[in-house]
Symmetry: C2
Amino acid sequence: MSVQQLFEQQLSVVNVGLPSFAQAIQEVKTPVVHLEWSPPAQGDPAVGMHLAELLVSERVDAANEEAIDRLYEGQPVLLGVARALEVIPEMAERMLLHAGPPIAWGEMCGPMQGAITGAILFEGWASSADEARRLAASGAVRLEPNHHHSAVGPMAGVISPSMPVWIVENQAYGNRAYSNMNEGLGKVLRFGAYDEEVLSRLRWMRDVLGPAMARALEGGGPVELRPLIAQALHMGDEVHNRNVAASGLLFRRLAPALLRSGMDSDDEAAVLEFMAGNDHFFLNVSMASSKSMLDAAHGIPGSSLVTAMARNGVDFGIRVSGLGNEWLTAPAPDIEGLYFPGFSAADANPDLGDSSIAETVGLGGFAMAAAPAIVQFVGGSPQDAVAYSREMRQITLGASPAFTLPALSFGGTASGIDIRLVVDTGVAPIINTGIAHRKAGVGQVGAGLVRAPMACFERAVTRLAEKLAE
Amino acid sequence: MSVQQLFEQQLSVVNVGLPSFAQAIQEVKTPVVHLEWSPPAQGDPAVGMHLAELLVSERVDAANEEAIDRLYEGQPVLLGVARALEVIPEMAERMLLHAGPPIAWGEMCGPMQGAITGAILFEGWASSADEARRLAASGAVRLEPNHHHSAVGPMAGVISPSMPVWIVENQAYGNRAYSNMNEGLGKVLRFGAYDEEVLSRLRWMRDVLGPAMARALEGGGPVELRPLIAQALHMGDEVHNRNVAASGLLFRRLAPALLRSGMDSDDEAAVLEFMAGNDHFFLNVSMASSKSMLDAAHGIPGSSLVTAMARNGVDFGIRVSGLGNEWLTAPAPDIEGLYFPGFSAADANPDLGDSSIAETVGLGGFAMAAAPAIVQFVGGSPQDAVAYSREMRQITLGASPAFTLPALSFGGTASGIDIRLVVDTGVAPIINTGIAHRKAGVGQVGAGLVRAPMACFERAVTRLAEKLAE
């Protein structure tokens, strides 16, 4: 075809890159499709070179194959409940665990400082909030990330030695993961509240709820979590910000066993009422389940699989299978969301909590197509929810064989984030999340969507390339 | 525009009617959209004339406006549980109620004869199955449709005097509706089984489950069903063939109240286990809820609103608001479905049960877009499920303000079938349904989709036109 022939035809134009070119063509009324494209790694040539190395590395591909097999074959099972000090690896007497990457007391955000203060009061290490804060600042209480102890916790995510924790075992590989128990909404420790209402609920959870769940699981457990979560995805949950179906399924499973356990019947009724009144009761179980699946795929040399995304309210950090215990961090982003009446973006703390472990395994934002009703909570339309689930397939090594999405014709949810694909496509993982007030103890002020910071993935690409070159 | 100009342009053709015209145009590569169309009432000129009268009748429109207001403003509330004889209007000592339009013992299908036999044994009116059948054939037991007593029951739908029944009150209008309690799957009375396993379960339901639910509702009720069903629709139920979410929500609501009721704790545990093991526990509550909403819109002179669709396994019948207690019937259709292993269409009984009250109110097949996962049970794709919900909007007077569908951008489900629209469009209501074995007592053999017979609606159009002419 000659150039003349080309221009005699009606043109259909695909524009790649700068949208202004497309605008110019649209102005002369030619149909145009604009594809967003920008150079990988925002044009940083060093990262681009490292990315190119990783993308053609057979060693990385082989390591990822092993990592993804381990991820997809996980069999998380809810085994029981025990006090943190008794079961969490390397938990110590004067130690508190927190969400996200490591952070010192002085650097922590308001809600996390509040939760640390509350946990010290709950443990009886101090008798006033001032004393608790001084103790925390003195360094006499060790503060470590949950993720260093096979644990996860939502929002501030604080776990103290005498708190009851869920025990999830990945029975395909034998590793275990842990999470604290969900306190419900309102004034709660995970948003940094620590008044008497909060502390007395924590004592009741330690003395009644935890033992009740332990006994119910002895009689009615263990509970296989893979089919339970799969079922909840067909019931409108994405098991991060919507857990109403999964909470109901767990309730239905444990309530009869609780009645058979011979507990005091007033306590039984109080426990069932507490569970029945908390649509997020399952969240922490879901998180421990995801953690147990991802930990089995962690530590494979050369693998570019993301095995954790977590936020401490100041920094957003990721961990990568082939990078061991390194954290790749960037400032925690602000959240685009819907605010509860009386609150606005000015009240919001930056992104906080270990709950993005859900997205890391392919749930939460990655499974939003399963939960169209969640857009009433986090914003957007049901069509957006489906679009996010599709988009995430660009950055994962495959689709989950366990967790399927009816709205995508029962295709598996995008699962197994590859740092290479994130940097190469420029598509950052999408996360559904709650929004904490920036001041300790006010609580949740909204919910919304946030993208993981690209800088974490770029740094990870560079570090993995350096490590492979060693 | 001249004809010549017309033919010089590129043609886009909309073809209405015979698809062969469209094929011819497609063969010459012109874009063509084929709209299915056939003359109303399959070309019967008498029905067509009656339809034309009704379609332009201001009286019908005014009556429908009132009927639909009453339907949409319904506030069904689960009040309690009591024995049928104590609460069902005009229930009598030697009376059994059954599903669908009226039918004599000798005409009944296998599963319904089995259920009648079982109910007679359960009531102790006979001591053997042969004796029970002779008694039924003798006319000494009155057999009447549930719908004549403000009641509904799934499949054979048999309600006997001492069975416990759910009491639902439509608090906007004060009318009540009733349904029996769900026995679970397997060998059950509603599929015509009546061996000792079935009868002993019915006795336990009468002596333990019914009283337990009555006490739980005294302490934890009444339960507003409109928001509960609305929530279940956002959790993947359509509350006809999928009730797992609604059953869980009801369980969660009643379990703590049951524990507070001071029952024997072994009975409490058995009740909770029974509820927890039955994903269809809510079905009968859902049916009574729909019945209570539709009855409030029944009996409005001139209204062409359908207020019941019900099947006795031989006939399919509808009732229309403006036609009082008349039934418009046609032979019960066969169901297109998926069969459980070992069964096929040859085993299937024609369409059976009062459960199509769900579709009559806009749930079930009309709300399939809410329940994409149900296609694994009834056949088709998630896209089909959405298409059915859209299609049904052609034959209803509006969309439910109570029940919304996330997949249709939270639009209301098509609610309020108009006989005129059914006949005019040729679109028959779609129903999700279980499939019973044609022999008594074998049980459920599959599930699928069925269309209400057009003849019922055509007859209704004629009858309503005749009635208006009187």
